[in-house]
């Protein structure tokens, strides 16, 4: 078996999650990804949560190394024209794909924007993935994922109806948009393999997230309905909620999608079923929805007597969809993730073992995975310049002396 992207070359500029997580999918499947980096303007993930006593400077932040496995790092000063020229040579002589997620501006200033590069090399695939896209009056807005999650509607849709919007944990534009960036790149690579043409792709992280909200937009534009947050309630599923279990802050999610699952749940409650679960009207969804509060209260009182894991196993064995609300340590011990090889142990020279994450899909006939965590800053500078651009030791030394290399 080979890797899908064996031989594919990706040049990456930018920072954070939205761009780098996208190219992680490509690296996982065999692409060679070179990150252009700088010590003067480092990826903010390289300094995230570093404490003053951290001894490893820009190489000591776990998050950067978890999000950038199997990539190479070229550290170059892009304020120096010679530095820009090195990157331009890599783009024009080496890369299949140039992927970046700066707010609009720097790529044009360096002459590394899609229009400039593809004028020289039309078959190049250039992808930009900033918050708001390359056009429009708000394109330069300097937001992070927190702003993306708010603008794309996910905050409004998460929370209790009687309280403020809160949004899904972490920043959903940072998890949705990389998949679409990787997809756009892969579709362009497929198209190029079939037709020979290159592509310029202008992805807005917010638009990719709004695209996922198609149903919410359709409900508003067709019927004027403004969908709002409803806790865990659902109009088509009942019971549908999250219930307390034995232990501190332990919970189980239970969802009854059809009448057969309701009968299975009722049997699991014991014979005869408790009063709150009895009655012919509960056989149909409409009856259960009418009794939603009573069902939620009855279930919550019942689940409290169980540890979450055995209760999930018992309900699933009975045919009732149920799942533990897993904590971070639970996820590291999750048997299904372990079976799929989700956590890949890699060895970092300063941080020890780092568990790099795989994508959520597996290909049956292709190798994939990771062998090392994200690179040290500039770890591959000399090798890249020597092997890919043919620079000799003297030239590299001179560039370093002149502050072009970092």
């Amino acid at each position: 078996m080979t890797r899908v992207f064996e031989g594919v070359r990706v040049l990456e500029l930018g920072s954070g999650a939205a761009g780098p997580v996208a190219t992680r999918y490509l690296a996982e499947h065999g692409a060679r990804v070179i990150r252009i980096e700088s010590a003067r303007a480092p990826d903010f993930l390289r300094i995230l949560w570093l404490t003053p006593e951290s001894r490893f400077g820009l190489d000591g932040s776990p998050m950067f190394h978890l999000l950038n496995p199997d990539k190479e790092s070229l550290a170059v000063n892009l304020r120096e024209p010679e530095g820009v020229a090195l990157v331009e040579r890599l783009a024009l002589e080496w890369a299949d794909v140039v992927s970046e997620n700066f707010a609009p501006g720097p790529m044009e200033r360096w002459g590394l924007d899609a229009a400039s590069l593809r004028r020289e090399r039309p078959e190049l695939i250039c992808v930009s993935a900033c918050l708001f896209g390359q056009t429009g009056s708000q394109r330069s807005y300097p937001g992070f994922g927190g702003q993306g999650s708010a603008i794309s509607g996910f905050n409004h849709l998460t929370g209790w109806p009687d309280r403020e919007a809160i949004g899904p944990a972490h920043t959903i534009t940072d998890s949705l948009s990389p998949r679409f960036v990787a997809l756009a790149i892969t579709a362009a690579l497929l198209e190029r393999r079939r037709t020979g043409r290159g592509r310029t792709i202008d992805l807005s992280q917010i638009e990719a997230a709004v695209y996922c909200q198609s149903e919410v937009l359709a409900r508003y534009t067709a019927n004027g309905e403004v969908v709002t947050r409803r806790g865990n309630a659902d109009d088509h599923t009942c019971p549908h909620g999250v219930y307390p279990c034995a232990g501190e802050d332990r919970w189980i999610a239970i969802a009854v999608y059809d009448d057969a699952q309701w009968r299975a749940l009722r049997s699991a409650l014991g014979e005869p079923p408790p009063g709150w679960a009895s009655g012919a009207q509960l056989e149909a969804l409409s009856g259960r929805l009418a009794a939603r509060d009573a069902l939620d209260a009855g279930l919550a009182a019942w689940t409290r007597g169980f540890e979450p894991q055995p209760l999930m196993e018992r309900l699933q064995a009975a045919g009732v969809p149920a799942g533990v609300v897993q904590s971070e340590p639970d996820l590291l011990a999750d048997p299904q993730l372990a079976h799929r090889g989700h956590w890949v142990p890699t060895e970092h020279p300063h941080l020890g073992t780092l568990l790099v994450e795989r994508a959520g899909f597996r290909l049956s006939d292709a190798e994939s995975g990771f062998s090392r965590p994200g690179p040290l800053l500039g770890e591959h500078t000399d090798a890249i310049l020597r092997e890919l651009l043919g620079l000799d030791h003297a030239k590299i030394a001179r560039l370093r002396e002149n502050g072009v290399l970092e």
């Binding site: 708000q138 592509r199 198609s214 534009t221 709002t228 947050r229 999610a253 290909l363």
Partner: protein
């Protein structure tokens, strides 16, 4: 970008966005429906409030850019026709219940054995094998087991999902990505393969590898409602909510200073805040009382201004503040309008129309866009089956 490629979409609601994505990329996506139509057709809300299998709003949102045929794999004549259709397809996209398709020979292994060039994508709750592979789950369960739920919600109440099914939103582009990778590999190998997508595993990435940092930090995150850690992220405005962080860091402190300037110009900055020592600001080391004092000052200002007023100022002053938009506010957001994100889908025969986000990325030539409105049940049988008969020769 995927023109000339054919996808058969057998998915239920949990996978229908994946087919839409492939259709918007230019593939010929055919929804293969049971005789009575897919389940999502039977679910409201309805266009104009009138029930009907052509009127489900969610159906229209997730099934644009597709054609429709009715085929019942359990009816022998349909089964044969389906097999002929599979022979013309590049991708089989399905959300099979555990073991459900094996009797019909339409499980991934069976399909692959008969159609070696076919890419077979199965979107399932936990993947095709493993200890939980026979467990049942929808969005709520996947979000719970995937870890995002435990960190979402208020500390004094149960953990939460988003009211819309984000597990499906994450799995769909990942399924489309896996399919496209398999098609790319097939250009060279000549062979298809199985793309095994797990709703549960695709949820993990919502946490940006925080769980993997647990062994290092020895401390898990907790639900904090409208806060991230100790500081508030969601604030009440006069007419809704805005997102704004009190966190520090070189970029973020600049934005706190700009906010205080705005408050000052509005006569709403107390003296102590005007003279605040931002050079040494670190939200991690502030005393609780100091956080409360800052929150009260910023909060009192935001509560007197509308979301739009605050956002207009944020744009000018480069403040990291954004409105918590609802559907109407998304539809009216100026930047999205300027980029022409929304396409109007006319439904004259239903006396209705709606707008959909037209693309997830822009290309020079609009290669990614909604190709057609969602199909009526069986709408394309005549053209699809005529093409099959043309291939098979006249019926015996």
């Amino acid at each position: 970008m995927l023109s000339g490629l054919r996808v058969l979409d057998l998915c239920d609601e949990s996978g229908q966005l994946a087919g839409r994505i492939l259709g918007d990329l230019g593939a010929d996506v055919i929804a293969v429906e049971p005789p009575g139509g897919k389940a999502l057709r039977h679910r409201g809300p309805w266009l104009g409030g009138q029930p009907g299998i052509e009127r489900g709003v969610a159906w229209h949102a997730l099934n644009a850019s597709k054609r429709s045929v009715r085929l019942d794999p359990d009816a022998p004549a349909d089964r044969a026709r389906l097999e002929s259709l599979v022979a013309t397809a590049d991708v089989w996209l399905d959300t099979p219940a555990p073991g459900a398709r094996a009797a019909q020979g339409l499980d991934p292994a069976g399909l692959r054995a008969r159609h070696p060039r076919l890419v077979v994508c199965a979107i399932t709750p936990f993947g095709l094998d493993g200890p939980w592979s026979r467990y049942r789950a929808g969005d709520l369960i996947a979000v719970a087991l995937g870890g995002n739920m435990g960190l979402t919600g208020d500390p004094d109440r149960a953990p939460l999902r988003c009211t819309m099914p984000t597990a499906y939103y994450h799995a769909a582009p990942e399924a489309a990505l896996g399919v496209t990778m398999a098609l790319y590999a097939r250009e060279e190998s000549g062979r298809g393969q199985i793309v095994d997508v797990s709703l549960h595993e695709t949820q993990l990435q919502t946490q940006l590898s925080f769980p993997a940092q647990y062994p290092i930090k020895k401390q898990g995150a907790r639900r904090a409602g409208p806060r991230i850690g100790r500081t508030r992220e969601i604030w009440r405005a006069a007419d809704g909510y805005v997102s704004f962080g009190l966190r520090g860091g070189p970029t973020r402190v600049k934005n706190l200073i700009a906010t205080v300037e705005l408050m000052d110009e509005c006569g709403a900055a107390p003296d102590w805040l005007r003279d605040y020592d931002w050079a040494h600001y670190n939200h991690n080391t502030l005393a609780d009382a100091e956080i409360a004092r800052l929150e009260e000052a910023f909060g009192a200002f935001f509560a007197t201004r509308t979301m739009r007023e605050l956002y207009e100022q944020a744009l000018v002053r480069r403040i990291l503040l954004a409105p918590c938009n609802d559907a109407r506010e998304i539809a009216e957001h100026r930047q999205l309008r300027e980029r022409e994100l929304f396409a109007t889908v006319e439904l004259p025969e239903l006396g209705s129309s709606l707008e959909l986000p037209d693309f997830f990325a822009k290309t020079e030539d609009g290669a990614i866009r909604v190709r057609r409105r969602a199909p009526r049940l069986g709408e394309h049988e005549r053209e699809v089956f005529a093409e099959l008969e043309g291939r098979e020769g006249p019926a015996a």
